[in-house]
């Protein structure tokens, strides 16, 4: 073959032939187990034990104040090294790049924020590299992580819609907003719409992109209030939306009249519930995601609750596969229990 190529004196064909010879295609049907992967219990030297959390938008206040704070506190309590890594902005490819680089450093355990199904491949890479891996916030289909802890986003949408229906007595115009394009939020939107479509007297006037910004949420809400002065309620699906919607409603002098439901339980959200501007918060128990996520990793590594003679050989794990930490429903009725 090479002689034939040489005979025709075609260097390009020769180069193409060499490239084709050296080319490796990705596996056509990557093995995806329906069960969570078994893990290798680590014995011996655990002196340099280190657990790494990789998220995106690492500087988002909610992530810092709740997820990361709980994770860092867990590290202090267990007296092990913990690190928080990831891009400052919402950038899923950059989160994937960070995970890839962390895998090379072989941490004891990896706690990953399930930001998008696109991170499945890199989770599997971590698992195949023998790193115990747990996902939190949103589950990642087709990934082989040992456990998932989080909230059902469809349930967040459903809870908000059911509360909104009660608040506006089943009729009127409503709008909702969040970060468009985020898979978990789109699931929440679906839960919201599935409930509202059962009420023919409720009209959904719009779905808007808050761009994870309080200012943008306030601007959108003022526009909605101008376009629909008779709007009955507005819902938010990301942390910054709630204060933004509340600001616009307050400035329009309609605080309390226009019903607001939103997510998260940051101090500013709680204060707005206390003031009667926001009527319901569907808050996630985010601290539990990372605290118990880290604890699961620790238990896997230390074999805390062995369920067989050798869990790895038995193909089992001794931690729960899936934990739904549930939601906190915060309303004016129970707000005093959440503020100082």
């Amino acid at each position: 073959m090479i002689n034939t190529l040489k005979k025709h004196r075609s260097p390009w064909l020769f180069i193409f032939f060499l490239c084709a010879m050296g080319c490796t295609l990705p596996p056509k049907n990557p093995e995806i187990s329906t069960n969570r992967s078994p893990y290798q219990e680590r014995k011996g030297n655990l002196e340099n034990e280190e657990y790494v959390m990789v998220t995106t938008a690492v500087t988002m206040p909610m992530y810092m104040n709740r997820d990361q704070r709980a994770f860092l506190k867990w590290g202090e309590e267990r007296n092990v090294k913990v690190s928080v890594l990831g891009p400052a902005d919402w950038d899923v490819p950059a989160q994937i790049n960070t995970i890839e680089e962390v895998i090379g450093t072989q941490p004891t355990g990896l706690l990953i924020n399930g930001t998008d199904p696109a991170i499945a491949q890199v989770i599997n890479k971590a698992v195949n590299a023998g790193i115990p891996t747990v996902v939190y916030d949103s589950d990642i289909p087709n990934a082989d992580h040992a456990a998932f802890l989080g909230t059902n986003w469809y349930e967040i949408g459903r809870l908000q819609a059911e509360e909104m229906v009660q608040l506006i007595e089943g009729k009127g115009k409503v709008a909702y907003m969040g970060i468009l394009g985020m898979s978990n939020m789109e699931t929440g939107f679906q839960g919201y719409l599935d409930v509202l479509k059962k009420y023919p007297e409720i009209e959904v006037v719009g779905k808007y992109d808050s761009k994870a910004s309080t200012e943008e949420a306030a601007r959108i809400s003022s526009d909605v209030l101008s376009a629909h002065p008779d709007i009955a309620g507005i819902s938010g699906f990301d942390g910054p939306s709630g204060p933004g919607i509340a600001l616009a409603v307050k400035e329009a002098g309609k605080a309390g009249k226009i019903k607001i439901t939103t997510v998260d339980g940051e101090p500013e959200h709680l204060q707005l519930v206390k003031e009667g501007v926001i009527h319901m918060l569907a808050a996630q128990k985010r601290e539990l995601f990372t605290w118990y996520g880290a604890q699961f990793l620790y238990d896997m590594v230390h074999g805390t609750n062995r369920l067989s003679n050798n869990d790895a050989k038995a193909g089992i794990t001794s931690i729960p596969y899936r934990v739904d930490t549930g939601l906190l429903k915060i309303t004016p009725k129970n707000i005093d229990q959440f503020v100082n």
């Binding site: 490239c19 050296g22 080319c23 490796t24 295609l25 990705p26 056509k28 280190e50 790494v52 998220t55 690492v58 500087t59 810092m64 690190s83 928080v84 890594l85 990831g86 891009p87 400052a88 902005d89 919402w90 950038d91 899923v92 490819p93 994937i96 790049n97 960070t98 890839e100 680089e101 962390v102 090379g104 450093t105 998008d116 199904p117 696109a118 491949q121 087709n142 468009l180 394009g181 985020m182 898979s183 939020m185 789109e186 699931t187 992109d209």
Partner: protein
């Protein structure tokens, strides 16, 4: 020595080597490994391809803020064509790239022929392209066809394909800028647009073409990132434009135009990629990463200015 002082690219090479040596000594088991360097190159491949287009624009004295959104739109449109309209993969890729070229043409036409400020025009296009990507894909398209994924997931000689595409892009454009009069005209345009126009260079046409090439490369980057991840997300490329402009300026370009070399785009992204990698290995928190990159940019440019000043004094 004269060349080292005059060209920022050489200063960057010295800095890169120094940083690698220090990191290699500090983290001998994690940093100086084939897999780590291969990972760094893979991570910067998409940014570098976009940076080559941005370098071309900056040489001509312009820039494009819509490249990140064009990456997202190309990825989402190609995925939409393949998965929803069931168009064959090669055709979907061609149409996705055509969409990117059309956006580049619109940017270029309005900036070059209608005199709209490049920042305003490309800022507007950034929003339009991002909105279109969101409309097309909602929360994103997953499980893209296998043969599409092979574009970004295959390996050649043990190295993942996006690295080869990156090297090929840098190689082709380095050759074009070194060996063809056509591309060297961008330096004259960036140096003095009026003089270039008076000397017979078709400035408007060339500026428009610059935007088309830049958008085309952003389109290629969109195809690559989606095939590498096997998914197309409307959030692709958020903040990419500023990251790429930073890298290109680090690599020797100037916002005033007329300066820069194509390999500088690669060195700029590589430098940022290596710094990011070292921060991951040394477990520097994500809070610090942006601050450190900002400080490095200021220090590099400051050092560059200082060396040039010294050179001017001694010459």
């Amino acid at each position: 020595m004269k060349q080292i002082l005059q060209e920022r690219i050489y200063l960057l090479i010295i800095l890169l080597v120094t940083v690698c040596l220090v990191a290699g000594i500090t983290f001998p088991t994690n940093f100086l490994t084939f897999s780590n360097f291969s990972q760094i190159l893979l991570n910067v491949s998409v940014d570098t391809i976009v940076a080559v287009g941005m370098m071309l624009l900056l040489i001509s004295g312009s820039f494009d803020l819509s490249v990140g959104s064009v990456v997202a739109l190309t990825a989402c449109l190609t995925a939409y064509l393949m998965q929803v309209l069931h168009i064959p993969i090669p055709m979907a890729i061609v149409l996705g790239l055509c969409a990117a070229l059309v956006l580049g043409w619109i940017n270029g036409y309005l900036v070059a022929y209608k005199g709209i400020n490049a920042m305003i025009q490309t800022l507007a296009m950034m929003g339009i392209a991002r909105g279109a990507a969101l409309m097309l894909s909602g929360s994103g398209s997953q499980n893209l066809p296998y043969w599409f994924n092979t574009i970004g997931q295959s390996k050649l000689l043990g190295i993942q394909m996006p690295i080869w595409y990156m090297l090929l892009t840098v190689g082709i454009f380095t050759f074009l800028f070194k060996k063809t009069i056509f591309f060297r005209r961008y330096y004259y345009i960036g140096g003095n647009e009026k003089a270039a126009d008076l000397s017979g260079i078709q400035v408007k046409k060339m500026k428009m073409l610059g935007f088309v090439i830049s958008a085309g490369l952003a389109g290629v980057a969109g195809i690559l990132i989606s095939s590498r991840l096997g998914a197309a997300l409307p959030t692709f490329g958020r903040g990419l434009e500023l990251r790429v402009i930073t890298a290109v300026i680090l690599g020797g370009a100037s916002l005033t135009g007329g300066y820069g070399k194509i390999p500088g785009a690669l060195l700029g992204t590589l430098f940022m990629g290596i710094i990011a990698n070292i921060m991951v290995i040394s477990r520097v928190s994500g809070y610090w990463q942006e601050i450190i990159l900002g400080i490095i940019l200021i220090l590099t440019l400051g050092l560059d200015k200082l060396l040039l000043k010294r050179y001017a004094q001694t010459a």
